[in-house]
Amino acid sequence: MPDVPMAEDRSIGFRYIRERGEVFQAADGTWLLTSPEAVRFAHRHPEIFSSAEAFGTSGLPVPLIPVAIDPPDHVRYRRILDPMLAPRVINAMEDELRAQVRELVEGFASTGSCDVVADIAKLYPTQVFLTLIGLPLEDRDDLIRWVEIMNENSITGTGQPTPIVGEAAMSLFGYVQKAIDDKRGKTSDDMLSHILSFTGEDAWSNEEIVGLCILFTVAGLDTVTAAIGFTMLHLAQNPELRRQMLADRELIGPLIEEVLRLEPPAPTTPRVTTQEVEVCGVTIPANSPIMLCLATANRGGDRELPDDIDLQHGERGHATFGGGIHRCLGAHLARRELRLVVEEFHKLIPDYELAPGTQPRVVWPSSTLHLKSLPLIFPPAESQR
């Protein structure tokens, strides 16, 4: 929906979509499910709303594990992957992840200015991914470049990839394959080594492992980049909100949840119907392309202030991480990254504002809503060492 006014104010853009109906067919034939009830119905019926059909046509040579897998095979992957990204695993990584974000903030704290997107939001999620799967942080900038090129040309888009996209994809696949080959047969306490250590019936094929790594890179990096950008945008634009949060650290969690609710980096997720189905009184034919509009579902229901950050209701559930069996595998990690960024940034830079003349805009149309840049100025922090 390239015509939707989204760049400067998502409230207007999402309302524009929601007002067209709870369930409706867009001009390009895609059916949009926009209310909390409609989205929940789809999440609870993965056998009717197929994720495999929607992600199976990505044009990639490997299946995106586990999002491109439907029941009954899906649960086999999640039983293995969920414990690897469970809160208790993230807890064990927290000190390392905190040290990394602190180092990034220290890199610009004494200069008096930064671009949140370029200097922290783009770098940190890729570092965390490399840490999680056990690869050197020096690979960060290559990885960021390849993934950025691939995502700009949306892997689920139509048409032939341009040579530059093809080249980036080749580089990324080559990188992942080399990492797998290097780690195979060695013992190490990281996620990739762990999966490679499975034997017999539990062993994963090379294709499955590559598919998982590719999904992590195309779905787990720029989404967190976007969420860091949006969180800092709201804090920069709203000094009162920042003051409240700094006065009471218990509000960091609710703040992050509210920004996630209002600014979902992936505002829609695709499905394809496997049969005719009625949703909220509307009949959708079999084999229809579907978009679950998480962003509008997040603003529906009985909220008093659906379009505003409401710290009093920051613990209420939302659909930004999806729902049902395909609920975002990296949600716990993403939430932790966001919290660590907010905590460490404000320890060194409690007071800041948008650089003069800045008009933050999101990139639209785009599969991932994100800010291109977020320049801030602040009193330079004194050297910490």
Binding site: R44, R79, R88, G253, R316, G323, R327
Partner: protein, 65 residues
């Protein structure tokens, strides 16, 4: 007395319950929620009701008994 339950068929491991209300919930190794005790005193009703709203899957329910 009130009764607090998680519908295991609906829980997908969002983990909001045990993150927000560790007095009421624990997590298993997959990050899925478990109630620490199904039977609670009335004084925990307010917190239990907040947990119901916090669950993105609507998997938590609380009933008076």
């Amino acid at each position: 007395m009130i009764r607090l339950t998680i519908d295991n068929a609906l829980c997908t491991g969002n983990g909001r319950c045990h993150a927000l209300f560790p007095e009421l919930f624990d997590d298993d190794e997959r990050g899925y929620g478990r109630v620490l005790s199904e039977e609670l005193g009335d004084e925990q009703l307010e917190q239990a009701q907040r947990a119901v709203i916090a669950c993105p899957e609507q998997a938590i329910s609380v009933t008076s008994s």
